[in-house]
């Protein structure tokens, strides 16, 4: 008991209620705003997390926010609640992984890593599932659009933040996330060799322009 004006146990209870009722993960700041002045949200969250650590419902950090979720080992009980996730093709999963680990990454870079052009629907599917978003434009000639992952991506794969992508640190250390290709690198690159053949490009660019204008709101729409 310090000089806290709002006692710890009340803070914990309030957080339990707020997190339980929340429609999605809540940040510590969101939570603090909903509590009386003087509540030590950080400490209470840590205490709650410990309290629920071995329960059937645990307090998890996803996308830098807090959320109650059922314990991983009890997933087998949840047959009725389970939603068969939409099956992503190998190409889509690979593209998603490249976007996740290399972000911000351009379409051309994705194609270079995979050694094959992105087929029409791949990015669409990932967009539609709200796993990826437009991040901005690369400051290189042509100002290509870059892609990154959404908060929903982190929520879906139970990741506290992008820093927690499995194996990312090792990959980075081994130079495997380096997008710079040596200048004398001349492996045939069918993907890069004919971007202008894709008739969808112009249409797509329009959409991209549009999306970028509304970049802020698009981002807010993630939630």
């Amino acid at each position: 008991m310090t000089d806290e004006s709002f006692p710890r146990i009340d803070t914990e209870r309030a957080l339990e209620a707020l997190l339980f009722a929340a429609a999605g993960p809540m940040s510590a700041a969101d939570l603090a705003r909903r509590l009386p002045e003087g509540a030590d949200v950080g400490k209470a969250l840590a205490a709650l997390r410990a309290r629920y650590a071995d329960r059937g419902v645990t307090l998890e950090v996803v996308a830098d926010k807090w959320q109650f979720r059922t314990a991983v080992d009890l997933g087998y009980l949840m047959v009725e609640e389970r939603e068969e996730p939409r099956k992503l093709s190998k190409a889509a999963l690979e593209t998603l992984a490249i976007i996740a680990y290399h972000q911000p990454v351009t379409r051309a870079e994705i194609e270079t890593i995979r050694g094959v052009g992105l087929s029409r629907g791949t990015l669409d599917v990932l967009h539609e599932m709200n796993l990826i978003r437009l991040r901005g434009r690369r400051r290189t000639p042509g100002r290509p659009v870059t892609y990154g992952t959404t908060e929903h991506f982190l929520e879906t794969f139970s990741l506290p933040s992008l820093h927690d992508l499995p194996g990312a640190a090792d990959m980075r250390a081994a130079g495997l996330l380096d997008l710079n290709v040596p200048a004398d690198f001349v492996i045939p690159d069918p993907a890069g060799a004919r971007p202008s053949e894709d008739p969808i490009d112009t249409d797509e660019m329009d959409q991209v322009e549009f999306a970028q204008d509304f970049f802020e709101s698009a981002e807010n729409g993630d939630r």
Binding site: R114, G115, F157, P166
Partner: protein
């Protein structure tokens, strides 16, 4: 793009057919027996790089230490087999094949005494290819790592209790005084428009008069003169408005210009219009 997609589909179909023929459903995704390279599950292996990665794994060493010459042979073997079975391979596969054949030959040839300066060392190319495969493999591993995370709505479940929450509409209004003014003026102006009475004829400066006036003043218009100065001023009350004089004079000037009697010019949008008598084509004639 379209043809490539078509090829892929066809390729996949043929592979599937092939598999059905030999009733070997259980073709592993990634591990392929060395002598069974043809029975590649091409499902999801969209490009030559993916095939190379599968083949490279057969060497069972770190990708950075693979033998590129052997890899080239494996790949060429794969292409040969595929063609023997009349798989229609996308152009990418053949481009890769010829490049690998070239790389292999350069790796095997004795190092020339005078190196051509414009070509990279074959060893560098080989290393770059190996690194590229390593990158792709890393991404494949990343896919496994990500998809084996507890997935929301598959392994873990969250539930909001939105019924418990009472959402009050915001008491703030997203509206400005300017919006209010705008809304007011729009309506008042609509109201004015509604009360417009067509029986009240607007006096206009007749086009014929404007033309006659312009012809009269034309001989004096040796220099560029602003439209504003040329158009007559309204006289007395109740006659046409100044705007009408200007508009009719402009119309008339365009007619006269079309007839080749005068010239009109404007330096930019919304700039002053200048007009003058058309100078004779040849001075002094």
């Amino acid at each position: 793009m379209v043809t490539r997609g078509g090829d892929n589909v066809r390729l996949e179909n043929e592979v599937r057919q092939h598999r059905l023929d030999f009733s070997s459903d259980a073709v592993p995704d990634t591990e392929i027996e060395a002598d069974d390279a043809l029975v590649l599950d091409l499902d999801g292996y969209e490009g030559p790089l993916h095939v190379l990665l599968v083949l490279a794994r057969q060497q069972k060493v770190d990708l950075l230490k693979i033998s590129i010459t052997r890899l080239a042979e494996q790949y060429l073997g794969f292409i040969q087999q595929a063609r023997k079975l009349r798989f229609s391979l996308a152009a990418d596969y053949l481009v890769m094949a010829s490049w690998l054949a070239y790389l292999k030959s350069r790796l095997l040839l004795p190092v020339p005494e005078r190196k051509p300066t414009d070509e990279p060392e074959p060893e560098e190319l080989a290393a770059a290819l190996a690194f590229r495969l390593k990158k792709l493999e890393a991404i494949r591993k990343a896919v496994e790592a990500i998809t084996s995370r507890p997935q929301l709505k598959r392994d873990v479940f969250a539930r909001g209790d939105p019924e418990a929450r009472v959402i009050l509409p915001s008491s703030r209004l997203d509206v400005s005084l300017f919006d209010l003014m705008g809304a007011y003026v729009t309506q008042r102006q609509r109201e004015i428009a509604r009360h417009y009475d067509p029986s009240m004829r607007v006096e206009a400066y007749p086009l014929e008069d404007a033309r006659d006036h312009l012809r009269d003043v034309l001989p004096e218009l040796k220099e560029w003169t602003a439209l504003d100065e040329i158009a007559p001023r309204p006289v007395g009350e109740g006659g046409p408005k100044r705007a009408s004089y200007v508009a009719s004079t402009l119309s008339a000037s365009l007619e006269l210009t079309k007839e080749g009697l005068m010239q009109v010019q404007q330096l930019g949008t919304f700039e002053t219009l200048y007009m003058r008598q058309r100078p004779p084509l040849v001075e002094g004639r």
